[in-house]
């Protein structure tokens, strides 16, 4: 492997250090739109993971044949092909979950995170490293979506994965669509707070 990072480091990088939702702040639309339950977040996360891994593999396999001036249209068409695949698979095998996600499965084609990873990573690195990077990014996205879904489902309807945990409905506000903005904003602020807190502690020690 040309890259000095190991495969596990690449995956961890996608999940923690460069988490697509909380760190890079890319592909916010689905994070706000359909993360009302953990299950919704998981389903869309799986779809994105599939598209990210497959298009990373495709691009890094054929990267030597792509003329640099038409690379962006090539990425777009590759992503569109894989999105069509997952769109038809989900519509055929999981019609119920598919109808819940609505138009967002088709909109994966326009997610900035996938194009960005292809541009920054897959068109330079070998196939193996691209696979692990795509896996990490997809996992990071999935975990981010599920975390937001967890908060909104727990606070909104008092359940986790459909099981009643609290026994009552704390705040109906959180399953209202507009609460997505508040939850994402507050969680970002929370991560910022942790970062500032650690930096301050380090400052005290040295």
């Amino acid at each position: 492997m040309a890259n000095d990072k190991s495969s596990m480091q690449l995956v961890a990088n996608g999940i923690l250090k460069e988490n697509p939702i909380f760190r890079l702040a890319l592909s916010m639309c689905p994070a706000v739109g359909i993360s009302t339950t953990v299950m919704n977040g998981f389903m869309l996360g799986v779809a994105v993971l599939f598209v990210q891994v497959c298009s990373s593999l495709t691009i890094s396999t054929v990267k030597n044949f792509i003329h640099p001036r038409i690379r962006i249209p090539t990425y777009t068409l590759t992503i569109a092909t894989w999105v069509t695949v997952i769109d038809m698979v989900l519509a055929a095998y999981m019609p119920e979950a598919y109808s819940k996600m609505g138009i967002f499965v088709k909109l994966i084609v326009a997610f900035a995170i996938i194009t960005m990873r292809l541009e920054m990573f897959a068109c330079k690195e070998p196939v193996g490293a691209s696979f692990w990077d795509g896996l990490g990014m997809g996992m990071g996205f999935m975990i981010g979506m599920m975390t937001i879904g967890l908060v909104r489902e727990l606070l909104g309807s008092g359940t986790i994965l459909g099981y009643d945990v609290l026994g009552f409905k704390p705040l109906l506000f959180f399953i209202l669509p507009s609460a997505g903005f508040f939850v994402v904003g507050l969680m970002m602020a929370f991560f910022n707070y942790i970062e500032i807190f650690y930096k301050r502690q380090k400052g005290f020690k040295s």
């Binding site: 639309c29 777009t76 900035a112 669509p177 507009s178 903005f181 904003g185 602020a189 910022n192």
Partner: protein, 313 residues
């Protein structure tokens, strides 16, 4: 002179296109319209027997899309002069659909059939208002957030960006409509939707990029990288996808694209006004940047919830 003539001709053409939808020539029934929530009002050209007119078995009402389901009538009340009747239904009517009313036994053996629908222009306008306010693409559908948070720092950029977005949306939606109706449907290539639409959108964006570079270099420079991001934007690709889902005709597609673009412009302008104020405010360090922008957007979304019951036509 020439321009005025072109305008006149296009106006006439538009009128000719709409008149057949507005006028129904019928012998017995001269006028028909929706009344209250579960009411259809019919006006007759001759005076009819009141006892006959009050018999609900003389009427049958269906929706044009589902001819098998006969809507249940609660009562038929003839008016005082005897030249009209108002039909009351058991359930509320879906007034956006066209209803077909069949009347028999009122004047001899003739059976007359009329279509009851809202004025077509009003329906088009309701699509526009719905995309603009009720289902605002940013605040109630959560589309295009990357560009929304990226370019809503200054008012001037926000306005320019909104206008460019509207143009791109209208052009690409109309192009997609032609491709969808004349190529994808006749050849059964429906599964290629996503690939074709994203190709058309990136083509339009490339054209706008080239034109803007020549026509207005200042605006072009202020956009920076975000013009490229327009390709990878869900707002623009969502319009053709919704058009394909709902099987809109060309006027409806145009109105949807215009409403979506206008809604995006509105959202960008509102957000940029707030962020200009926020630069002067004291914000806690943990909330600086994106978190506070998200919370402001959430408050806008709450405000836009108030439009949800709006119905003009």
């Amino acid at each position: 002179m020439n321009l005025a003539r072109i305008r006149l001709v296009s106006l006439l053409a538009l009128l000719c296109a709409f008149i057949p939808g507005l006028v129904h020539a019928q012998e017995l029934i001269s006028k028909q319209s929706f009344g209250e929530k579960n009411e259809i009002i019919l006006k007759f050209s001759i005076e009819v027997n009141k006892a006959q007119a009050a018999d609900i078995n003389n009427y049958s009402v269906i929706e044009e899309q589902d001819p098998d389901i006969r809507l249940e009538l609660a009562s038929a009340v003839p008016n005082y002069a005897g030249d009209g009747v108002s039909l009351h239904f058991k359930g509320p009517l879906n007034t956006t659909k066209t209803h077909i009313v069949t009347v028999k036994n009122l004047s001899g053996d003739t059976v007359s059939v009329v279509k009851v629908s809202k004025p077509y222009l009003g329906y088009l306008f309701s699509i526009l208002i719905s995309a603009l306010l009720i289902n605002n693409f940013v605040f109630t559908k959560y589309l295009g957030l990357c560009v929304f948070f990226g370019t809503s720092k200054r008012k001037s950029t926000a306005k320019g960006m909104g206008v460019v977005f509207t143009m791109v949306m209208v052009v690409s939606a109309l192009m997609s409509w032609f491709f969808f109706n004349f190529i994808l449907i006749p050849y059964n290539l429906n599964f290629l939707q996503i690939v074709v639409f994203i190709g058309l959108v990136s083509l339009t964006v490339q054209a706008v990029d080239t034109i803007l570079r020549k026509v207005n270099p200042i605006l072009f420079n202020s956009f920076g990288v975000y013009l490229v991001l327009v390709i990878a934007n869900c707002v623009i690709i969502a319009v053709p996808l919704m058009m394909a889902n709902n099987k809109f005709n060309i006027f409806e597609t145009f109105m949807l694209a215009l409403g979506a673009g206008g809604g995006f412009l509105l959202a960008l302008y509102l957000m940029s006004s707030v962020s200009e104020r926020m630069q002067l405010a004291k914000i806690p360090p943990t909330f600086k940047g994106l978190p506070i922008a998200f919370i402001v957007a959430g408050q806008f979304a709450l405000a836009f919830l108030g439009f949800s019951g709006l119905q003009i036509f």
